[in-house]
Symmetry: C2
């Protein structure tokens, strides 16, 4: 079993998305796709006069923002990805956490950040234990390919917004699957401007050194921390790679 993750930059770029979907559809074997959509969500928020608020890279989800991300992630992005996959012959089925209770999340309580209490709003925390693996395995057994948005529910009628990387790593850990994180770069790069400088393998020791040297910085830090957590929680492997050329073997393998 493999779990693929594509981020908001790929979902929002129709050409990159079509390339990914064509290649993903041609793969064999049971697999799950998890997608983001943050780029489109921020654009829709601005169209509607809502200023996106992020703290430590996480979107604060007030009631109006929840409506936008539910529409954009679970509706617009999810159904576009599924319709594209169907057009390439992949029998995809779009799911949010409420669907068949596939992921039941816990609303994040207000937490202290830099001395201030921060309420992220309708944000849902998810772990491997939140994932209904029986349903995902049953669907894969029927030849269906689950495509998960990062909108989940709390089991009490409320929808919650979860980070898509967290959903992907929780699903991979729960299934004991390999996680393939796909984005717009070829992997973790030694030189961010040189797509040829992919670091083939990163373990926790190298991660610390790369952080100290400033080679791994900003958004790549939580991505790698998430990858280590995913391996510790039961995933069979993690690779970070480009969303195109899925069979070219290029990418960064994460090891414990």
């Amino acid at each position: 079993m493999k779990v693929y993750k594509i981020g908001g930059n790929v979902v929002d770029d129709q050409a990159a998305l079509e390339t990914f979907c064509r290649e993903f559809a041609s793969l064999d074997g049971p697999r799950v796709l998890v997608h983001g959509g943050g780029v489109a969500a921020s654009r829709v928020q601005e169209l509607m006069g809502i200023r996106p608020v992020k703290i430590q890279g996480r979107r604060v989800t007030d009631p109006e923002t929840l409506k936008v991300v539910t529409g954009v992630y679970a509706g617009l992005c999810n159904k576009n990805v599924v319709a594209l996959l169907q057009s390439f012959g992949c029998n995809a089925i779009g799911l949010s956490g409420c669907d068949g209770n596939v992921i039941c999340a816990t609303r994040r309580p207000p937490i202290e950040i830099e001395g201030q209490m921060v309420d992220f709003g309708a944000v849902g925390d998810v772990t491997a234990a939140s994932v209904n693996t029986e349903l995902l395995e049953a669907f894969c057994g029927m030849g269906l390919v689950p495509v998960l948005s990062a909108i989940n529910h709390d089991g009490k009628g409320k929808l919650l917004n979860t980070n898509a990387d967290t959903v992907a790593s929780s699903v991979a850990a729960a299934l004991g699957a390999e996680l393939v994180v796909c984005f717009e770069k070829n992997g973790v790069l030694r030189d961010k401007d040189d797509e040829g400088s992919v670091i083939a393998e990163i373990d926790p020791g190298l991660f610390e050194r790369l952080k100290k040297e400033g080679i791994v910085a900003e958004g790549m830090i939580p991505k790698l921390e998430n990858a280590f957590l995913c391996l510790r929680n039961g995933a069979s492997g993690v690779t970070i790679r480009n969303s195109s050329g899925l069979d070219n073997g290029i990418g960064t393998v994460i090891k414990l």
Copy 2:
């Protein structure tokens, strides 16, 4: 097998929706729910500065409108309904036509209306033959309750907007199921201001007389035409009734 349909007025009224979902969750047996969402879609369009355009009650779906209705119907409305049903113990699964290829629609070609060619845009025509009954039956067999939005796909990567009444009647006809059309009134009323004046049964002969007398008018005409079509195409029965009090036996039964 029963197919229930709720319209945009119920979906948009949180109290009415919760009442419906609580009652629907307590029903036994295999069933499918189809929902609208037009009230919310028009509101979002206006927030985004798009003027909703309807011709003969059907929404003209230009590319921007398609994005809105996909977000609102397949995302916001569908996931809210599913999360509510889950909270009442009903194992609902939200689906749009692309999901598992459950409904494959045909884009409506431009048609002549009152001497003018009208292009409805991304509007999908659906018949009983468009419905993947095997998948719906398999899901019901797994104890899942499919909840369908009216967003479908063309099998070539494009999403299409279909009238929710048409989706519901096509699904009921394809499954040979009973269709229960639920809305904010108690049934087809002899006096539109008297909820006690429900007409118990309507056949095509009575329908013609009621139209002549002006008792059946406006939006009720396509609803009844749709009901007769649904019966002719294989549904086992059609009832038009209130979305609350699902077990009270009040409503209008449609007969051929």
